[in-house]
Symmetry: none
Subunit: 196 residues, 4 copies
DNA sequence: GATGAATGAGTCTTCATTCAT
DNA sequence: AATGAATGAAGACTCATTCAT
């Protein structure tokens, strides 16, 4: 079955399979076999394309981060107001929950593992800071610099906290949307509180 | 070496060693050997007292939950005002970070694992609901029922979110205290916003 | 609880517990703990009285052999005819099955193990030869020497074969008695065939 | 080392190694390592082909049963007389002893274990019943139904008994042949006794 | 005389990696 | 390009033995 140009296809197949496996079994119980089986490929292919399990794990995290970033960029245009932009940030973050339930569990597994894996921790930090800076940037248009920083910090924590509790309690779709509404309401209250 | 009355001592030794090991290596890399080595005991003793690794893991989670609960109870007296009680709840939750840095990382590992372990998930839910009901109960003295529920939900998320971000960014002591202040400030703003 | 003169009591307790454990779990799954638990004693006592598990196993086999021997001696008197004596030999061997069902399974386990344990093999051979010589001695009164030897050999095999098939098929009491009758009938047919 | 079509080869290698190991060390002392070492393969391969030690044990028993069955079928043709057929049954059963001394000890170990292992017991019963029905079928051509049943039962016991005593006494080749002759003589005496 | 806490070697099993095809 | 057979280190668990009490 030697075909040319299969690389991007195979890589994505394996990343998708990794997300599914981590979601279903957890990071601990995810093996090279559980992944390759879900992908419908052989186990050897993982080392071929990702130089081992660890490489695939990292590539998967990078893919998730990129997806989140893209989810925001797609929403924002040049005519977007700061308030709208903030709402989009919230939406993009909760979209992790809605679009694909798998992604959610996977994300949390990677977070925990990042405590003990420098490579994952670096990636995790990029994501965390991006959320903060996106928020800070938007708030800055609506309030002074120090208030914007404070609002961004609080808002980032609120988003992560609502999201975390929703995931851990294995909430259903309605509860996810409820959390999203709470987050948006909180953004508005911050604007009202600190906004000029 | 056989002594009588060693059971409670050994059990606590092993639980402490488990917290240390999970903090240092992560739940995934924590083995029966890494634990027994830290405890200065043999590996066989774990099966003897906890009927296997899983039993020790669960006992450790139960211990952490009990500690958190006790941390709150110790602070609260009959003369505590609702506002003070809310502050104590915040403090008790952030004390996880201050008192023992190990506990923090351990906690997160268990959270992630609880997605794939029914026993751990049950324990995790007990904790999550306890935070919510403690907050709701205190807010209820200061505002109407529906506002109190909303405030408790938001506040629980804020505490978890701030705590999570502090842990994941491997913050130092000063940042932990900064987060605690943010949480307390948020409690006060909720009281001001919804309070009668 | 230090008492004097407990040795014979404890030894028998442990031997009985060993028979029970081997019958219930098999020789492979019989541990120092399964035995001591059945005996209602501590595990350490085994090393104390039998210098380890192996010593207890051998003592148990020796006890079973002695029991079998005694079962025959009790039946035989000076006035017993050769024919009666042969019937008693059959009865004594099948009594292993009737008196105590446990003994049966235990016996087979020890036989198998005797293939790989010189000590057990020696004991097993004593038993095997005793059956043969008991039979040969009795047949000798009824026929010439070479026929008696042949009859003894065939009869010993028939007894063991019937007994083995009864045990392996997990037969009930009725089937055991049926086998005993077959064995006795075979003894009579041998006497008729070769007897003067 | 990965080659295609190795599965049947590897499976047989491992089954042969299991027979050797059980013969040499006994079932109790046969480990995944003792087997894989004899096979000249790694220990992991056992789980790969047989999903664990237990699977290999069962496959080995099944192989032994099949071999015994085949040993009989090869001898019997359409022109075989009932008497000849009975002789072939005896021969096939004693061939276990002659062809491969290992098989013998292995067989006894499995018998003993079958008392405590439902899977093995089931297989053991298949074999036991097959011997009986083969004998009963052949005897039926030579005598009435009830006599044939009795003859088959006695004959099966005699074969197993002679075989067992030969194995347990660690007899040499000559003694094995002597036992086979005794068994054949017994068959003939049964035919003479009950035959029309 | 008796206990059972503690040990640690040994067992089965899992699984990431390698590599011949 | 892709497979999956094979490896072997590492994991959890078992259990006979030891020994302080």
């Amino acid at each position: 079955m030697p075909k040319v140009g299969m690389e991007p296809v195979r890589r994505q197949q394996l990343i998708d399979a990794t997300i599914e496996s981590v979601a279903e079994f957890g990071l601990q119980a995810t093996t090279i076999n559980s992944i390759s089986k879900k992908a419908g490929l052989s186990s050897g292919i993982i080392s071929h394309y990702f130089a081992g399990k660890q490489g695939l794990i990292e590539a998967t995290v990078r893919y998730l981060l990129t997806s989140l970033k893209r989810a925001l960029i797609e929403r924002v245009t040049t005519t977007t107001t700061p308030q709208q932009r903030l709402m989009y940030i919230v939406e993009a973050n909760f979209a992790r929950l809605q679009q694909q339930s798998d992604t959610t569990k996977t994300w949390l597994s990677f977070w925990a593992q990042s405590m003990h894996d420098v490579q994952l921790h670096r990636l995790q930090n990029v994501n965390s800071r991006r959320l903060y800076s996106n928020l800070a940037c938007s708030f800055r248009s609506l309030m002074n610099a120090s208030d914007a920083k404070l609002a961004a910090e609080l808002c980032a924590a609120m988003i992560d906290g609502l999201w975390l509790r929703a995931v851990l309690s294995k909430s259903d779709q309605d509860q996810f949307e409820h959390c999203e509404q709470l987050a948006k309401g909180y953004v508005n209250s911050l604007i009202k509180q600190y906004g000029a």
